[in-house]
């Protein structure tokens, strides 16, 4: 008797916990697009169907356990088949499944809609950051985690958006259809923002498509969803959705910045300027693997501090940063960073942490290499 009660209470408290936490925002977000809301309602429909089936099935089960226990004097019957009952419990689930499949198919077709988009964004996954390129707009940038290391290591209190903050969010317009082209430079990543209901693998050498039409301005956060190595947990996605006109002026601003930066290529940079800029770039891009103090993590990530081979061969250093090293996690940064950033970070690496080569790499030199 007590046992059975415990069983029933156990099951009941599950359902109670389930519904109360669902109400408290621990559920899938309904999101801010048509598709995300459809997926949400699909999810809830199936969830409640499962709950109802569960109550009926477990109800019969617990009733039997309670009613037919031997301590209550139950004598066992001897039946072991009943064709009509079996037909019913095969056919009914089949019908329920058809009922689930119909709306699911409709939603899926809407997700695969390939109609013309207003904006194309190329999303490239890299260990362990995202690179965004607004196709045809001459705007592209890399977006990496901006949560400071000290918060991760517990030396500082964790901020509100711990692990979900980036240096440069992807900015998208509201009310326009944005098409994503996803690919990767190294391993498979998966770009995911729950509020947009977009999750798509980015696969090296191949291109995947997805799209979104955001309905409300705001900041939407997500993460890489496919295990991609050491810092899989540390490559968040942040999307900032702006009203159409705000977006247009943002894009124009970025385009102007890109042009300004391009013109900076021609002038002579001082060592201090390059070191300052290089430290920023290094912190945002290189420090996750090669460590903030350049000590690396052997054998995968070689140390840069005191790396004689690198310090003695300036050309090799430039080549590695520009073109990466095939068969290792070292990516090619030629198209992810601009010549100023490339020159600065190489100069920084050759002169920081006791590396006293005294070498200065000018943006114009990198530019020449890129254009050759």
């Amino acid at each position: 008797m007590r046992k059975t009660l415990a069983w029933i209470m156990g099951a009941g408290s599950f359902l109670g916990l389930a519904s109360s936490t669902l109400a408290n925002g621990w559920n899938m977000p309904a999101g801010v697009t048509d598709v995300s809301r459809e997926i949400y309602s699909l999810h809830m429909t199936i969830f409640w169907i499962c709950v109802v089936i569960g109550i009926v099935v477990f109800g019969v089960m617990f009733y039997s356990l309670f009613r037919y226990r031997r301590s209550r004097g139950a004598k066992s019957a001897n039946f072991h088949e009943n064709t009509s009952v079996e037909v019913v419990w095969t056919a009914v689930p089949l019908l329920i499944l058809v009922g689930m499949a119909l709306p699911a198919t409709a939603t899926l077709k809407r997700m695969y809609d390939a109609s013309e988009a207003d904006l194309d964004v190329m999303v490239t996954g890299q260990q362990w950051r995202w690179h965004y390129e607004y196709l045809g707009e001459n705007v592209s940038f890399t977006s990496s985690l901006s949560t400071p290391r000290s918060q991760i290591n517990g030396e500082e209190e964790k901020g509100e958006n711990y692990l979900l903050d980036v240096d440069q969010p992807l900015v998208l317009p509201v009310g326009r259809k944005v098409r994503f082209l996803m690919t990767s430079d190294d391993v498979i990543h998966s770009w995911w923002v729950p509020d947009l209901a977009v999750k798509q693998d980015s696969i090296p050498g191949f291109v995947n498509e997805n799209w979104v039409r955001i309905e409300e301005p705001g900041i939407y956060r997500g993460q890489c969803a496919e295990l991609c190595g050491k810092d899989h947990a540390f490559m968040p996605v942040v999307v900032r959705a702006l009203e159409g006109d705000e977006f247009d002026s943002w894009l124009a601003e970025r385009r102007k910045e890109a042009e300004a930066e391009a013109s900076g290529v021609d002038r002579e940079w001082s060592m201090d300027e390059l070191m300052e800029r290089g430290e920023q770039v290094y912190g945002a891009i290189c420090a996750t693997c090669h460590q903030p103090d350049g000590s690396g993590a052997e054998p995968t990530f070689p140390a840069l501090a005191g790396n004689e081979a690198l310090l003695n061969d300036r050309d090799r250093h430039i080549d590695v940063v520009l073109n990466g090293v095939s068969g290792t996690p070292m990516a090619a940064f030629r198209s992810n960073l601009n010549p100023v950033e490339l020159a600065a970070v190489i100069t920084y690496e050759r002169n920081a942490w006791g590396n006293e080569s005294g070498d200065v790499v000018q943006p114009s030199e990198i530019q020449a290499l890129l254009e050759q």
Binding site: A117, G205, E209, S326, Q372
Partner: protein
């Protein structure tokens, strides 16, 4: 053979069959992809132009994206980033490879098409992606792509994106390619 031996013999036969099947799946998958258009794979052989009337009532946007993979000091440039074509119309677009490094190198442009269903309706008559390229230090090479989107391209597809990613060809790879060709020969 006693019955136990017979059973064992049959299961071992089935085992070896399944092991071979795993390897057979590799070319089968490629073939299946080309038939069904999964993954945006396009054939690695030139195809002829389908003789069909150009559908002037419809425009499709074709985008070209070029990328360089790891350890690849080359650049691939394209004449137009984007163009509008009619289904059925053969189109030529020029690409240029340039080797920015100080050494000669063999490379390959791996193609991918999005949306993947479009690859069924894409006929490449001439493409640099059919073979490997060898460039001397500082060399520049122009290579055209001639393609046609057939008229049966599904009406809901308005944009087709062709992506080419440059990868270096290592020695062991090119030797192996030579042996195993055409199954996994040069490019997809």
């Amino acid at each position: 053979m006693n019955p136990v031996q017979r059973t064992v013999f049959r299961t071992v036969l089935a085992l070896m069959g399944m092991f071979a099947f795993a390897f057979a799946l590799v070319p089968l998958y490629d073939a299946f992809c080309q038939v069904t258009g999964i993954n945006g794979k396009v054939g690695d052989q030139p195809r002829s132009i389908a003789n069909e009337e150009v559908d002037t009532s419809r425009y499709v946007t074709v985008q070209f994206i070029t990328r360089s993979g790891k350890g690849m000091p080359w650049q691939l440039e394209v004449e137009h980033r984007q163009m509008r074509v009619h289904p059925g119309q053969p189109t030529e677009v020029n690409f240029a490879f340039s080797n920015n490094s100080g050494k000669a190198l063999t490379g390959r442009a791996v193609p991918s098409v999005s949306p993947s269903q479009a690859s069924l309706h894409l006929r490449k008559v001439q493409c640099f992606c059919f073979e490997e390229q060898h460039l001397e230090a500082g060399e520049r090479l122009e290579a055209p792509l001639v393609f046609q989107l057939t008229r049966d391209l599904p009406p809901d597809i308005n944009t087709v994106t062709l992506v080419y990613t440059l990868y270096p060809v290592t020695d062991s790879q090119s030797q192996l390619q030579a042996q195993t060709s055409p199954v996994r020969g040069g490019g997809v």
